[in-house]
């Protein structure tokens, strides 16, 4: 019964808190936010599919901080490349063999790659074994692949335990 009323309890809580923070904290907004936080999961629950859960939240937080730092560093790198002459650029496509499995972890990995050092993820092969990346500057393909695998994929495998 409770499960039917609140199919996504975590999301209900987050929605209510965000609604109260975006508006003012009054009884009226509490009631309205509660109604919305109950109705929206009813509509959204059929769309969600069971996905991997974060097994190690502490490692996840560390990963998030590391990615934030990498975003800042990579931006200086990309800014440097933009300001220099185009002739120095060696763009290229790279295929990254994947060990990570599961849709949600892969989405996190692809987004991380898009936000960090001069790389954008373009597509994934149908069997989910290869991630295609476009890099702004490739000196050594293998080094780029190794770097992504050790720096981002290995921690993600630990976090999602897969």
């Amino acid at each position: 019964m409770l499960k039917r009323l609140f199919p996504m309890p975590l999301h209900t809580g987050i929605l209510l808190v965000v609604w109260l923070l975006l508006n003012s904290f009054t009884v009226g907004h509490l009631v309205l936010g509660f109604i919305l936080a109950t109705i929206i999961p009813w509509l959204a629950a059929p769309l969600s599919d069971p996905h991997a859960r974060v097994k190690k939240p502490l490692k996840g937080a560390r990963y998030l901080l590391m990615v934030l730092w990498d975003i800042v560093v990579s931006n200086f790198e990309v800014a440097g490349r933009i300001l220099r002459s185009n002739r120095h650029l060696r763009p290229g496509l790279v295929a990254l063999p994947l060990d990570l499995q599961g849709q949600f972890p892969l989405a996190v990995l692809a987004s991380t790659i898009s936000l960090t050092p001069g790389t954008v993820s373009v597509d994934i092969s149908e069997d989910m074994q290869w991630l295609y990346i476009h890099a702004l500057h490739v000196d050594d393909e293998q080094r780029l692949i190794d770097r992504i695998k050790t720096r981002y994929e290995a921690p993600l495998r630990e976090i999602f335990a897969c």
Binding site: I71, G92, S114, D123, S125
Partner: protein
């Protein structure tokens, strides 16, 4: 204390402005579509992140309380930037937008379109 916060916020604002400008400069000067894709997904996203953090600090400084809106906007932008980059890149590949001459593995684009494993090289 007040002055220190203001100087810090000004620094963040200027950094944000510089990154946004560099992103726009990259949009104009980089040689092909796929390299141009890097400018907005990275430089512009970080630039707007800096400006929003500065705005949060300044609003807190003025005593309006901690406003969560900036945090929501920056989170939203950081989540959507890779998604829109991915979608636009895929659309460009589908239209066979030309690669810059000398791009490594440019022939791999056929594999990507078919979504199959790359030919063993």
């Amino acid at each position: 204390m007040l002055l220190v916060m203001e100087v810090l916020a000004s620094f963040l604002l200027i950094m944000g402005g510089v990154f946004i400008l560099i992103g726009a400069l990259g949009m104009v000067k980089l040689p092909d579509f796929y390299t141009r894709l890097h400018a907005p997904t990275k430089a512009t996203t970080l630039g707007i992140g800096c400006i929003l953090i500065a705005s949060m600090a300044l609003h807190a400084l003025r005593g309006d309380g901690l406003s969560i809106q900036e945090l929501v906007i920056s989170l939203f932008l950081f989540i959507t930037a890779p998604v829109s980059a991915y979608m636009v890149a895929k659309a460009a590949l589908q239209r066979r937008t030309a690669f810059l001459e000398g791009t490594r593995n440019a022939d791999m684009s056929e594999d990507i379109l078919e979504r199959r494993a790359p030919d063993s090289r």
